[in-house]
Symmetry: C2
Subunit: 318 residues, 2 copies
């Protein structure tokens, strides 16, 4: 579950948190409920026993002109691409095998057939490129002349051999790793033309097997997303400021806060390869025990001191 | 795939038809592609053979204030209910077993937390009532003050024993049947508080087994939806005007054209029960061979003559 638009009076996270309270009883088919990148369902063929089911991963994300991108700046093709790619990145975050994509779009009144075609063709091409064929769609035209393009993309995937990787399995002593580089995704075109790390996630799952403990894709920024890896635990992540791989022209602050990198951030034990194909993998930190209940979830250390990435205040070292 | 808003200059059906051309090669996992109520995918656990997969049904539909309902008239609770129920009706149309629901909503700037909660609670309650638990959600707030509530609902289901029922299996000599009654769904509250016919569809699949040849839910009106049952065939449906069960206060024209009945329309051979629990089942016509290629797909007969429901002109009988 996710939400957006900080300008609004709605505290969206609260709404979704209440709706999806993990304390509420769930249907027995729900293996991983709302709160991770995707939900995991046990889907059973008729007449089979509970254990014989297929682990199916499902998630939905919106892309709205003016919030998640500027259609006037990027054009329809990149908008369609991004709408699908960011949902596919959620499949990568759980090391899932892509299965299918469904899209809906409410388009502005001013749209022509050709414009709608460019948008849908781009969504379809992106879905197919990552082996999650577009199998369902719904197209509406807004009546209100001011209403912006609203896309909603659902992805379905299947758990890999050994099962999906959730956000919540990090262990004390694990290394914290990131693929690629971070920061400034919005300044350049990275947020529009990134490649969802589906292949890299599959490789990690196959190479590390059960040593790949927890994973997430970086959409909200390293600071916040690292926090998600320890949020239901008594663990803490210590990041090393000097090791964080920065996108060209980006600084540490941008890497921590910009988001939209769509890189994999994961916790693993033992040896981890420093590359997957063309993709660099960097160790940027370590999982430790949280010494006090109210200690910050993520600390970043540099020569100047250490800082709680969540509350964002530097504490100079003694 | 579906589309809406006849006011627009976009010929939405054309856009989706081109994107989802059934002549295009499909991924081998796609059993039923776009064009039916839902897509059917073969989802395989890792390492298994192609035949061992699970038949997974997936579909998406939007609900937009001002197009699919008037939020000012019906309120948030019924809007949330309808958004989910109409997608569930697509599962019923294929006799699927519900598995999961995912919703996204872009809400007006003016929305409060409480309003968003009412909407999501209603969607969640409706999904759970029909055993398709809400497992994913995305909430955004429009930036544009004029932009209306846009919801998108994806449903997932599993094929029943014997497999799903598509739109396209009708045979010459089949009876044409409908559940419940038709017409005037928009005048009253039926389009808001209908019960998706999931239980009735399951019963039909279990009772009729392979004699249940084709099925659809009536969303666009009996005339148009009956046409879908024969559109990829050389068959014709002859409807009997006197047998069509009308909702109280509705007339035949409304039954043919209003839509939003969300009743099951199906083709079956042999004996068919005249009720399923509290739900009446009525035989309203017969499937025949289409004598000429350009003959209408659906003809309705009454004492006054017969009429092509597609082109909508009465031809008086000789």
């Amino acid at each position: 579950m996710s939400s957006s638009n900080p300008d609004s009076t709605i505290r969206e996270f609260n709404v979704l948190k209440q709706i999806c309270d993990p304390g509420l009883p769930l249907d027995s088919r729900v293996i991983v409920g709302p709160g991770d990148d995707l939900a995991v369902m046990l889907a059973q063929p008729p007449g089979e026993h509970a254990d014989d089911g297929l682990r199916l991963l499902l998630g939905v994300d919106q892309l709205i002109d003016g919030i998640h991108l500027s259609l006037a700046d990027c054009g329809l093709e990149l908008a369609g691409r991004k709408a699908v790619a960011r949902s596919l990145s959620d499949l990568a975050a759980m090391a899932a095998r892509p299965l299918a994509t469904l899209v809906s779009a409410a388009v502005p009144v001013s749209f022509t057939d050709d414009q709608a075609m460019i948008l849908f063709e781009s969504m379809k091409r992106t879905a197919e490129e990552y082996h999650a064929p577009l199998v369902g769609g719904d197209l509406s035209v807004h009546k209100n002349p001011e209403a912006p393009l609203c896309c909603s993309v659902t992805v379905a995937g299947v758990a890999p051999a050994g099962g999906e990787v959730t956000r919540f399995g990090a262990c004390e002593g694990d290394g914290i790793y990131v693929t690629g580089c971070l920061g400034g995704a919005w300044k350049g075109d990275h947020h529009l033309n990134f490649r969802p790390r589906l292949a890299e996630a599959s490789m990690l799952r196959a190479i590390l097997q059960d040593r790949l403990h927890a994973m997430i894709d970086i959409s909200d920024g390293l600071g916040q997303d690292a926090g998600h890896l320890v949020e239901r635990s008594s663990l803490q992540i210590m990041l090393d400021a000097d090791r964080i791989p920065l996108r060209e022209g980006a600084n540490l602050e941008q890497a921590l806060k910009d988001g939209e990198d769509y890189e994999l951030l994961f916790a693993a034990s033992g040896e981890v390869p420093d590359g997957l194909g063309n993709c660099v993998v960097t160790r940027i930190g370590t999982v430790t025990a949280r010494l006090e209940d109210d200690a910050p979830g993520v600390i970043i250390q540099s020569a100047d001191g250490h800082r709680d990435v969540a509350t964002d205040g530097w504490e100079h070292s003694a």
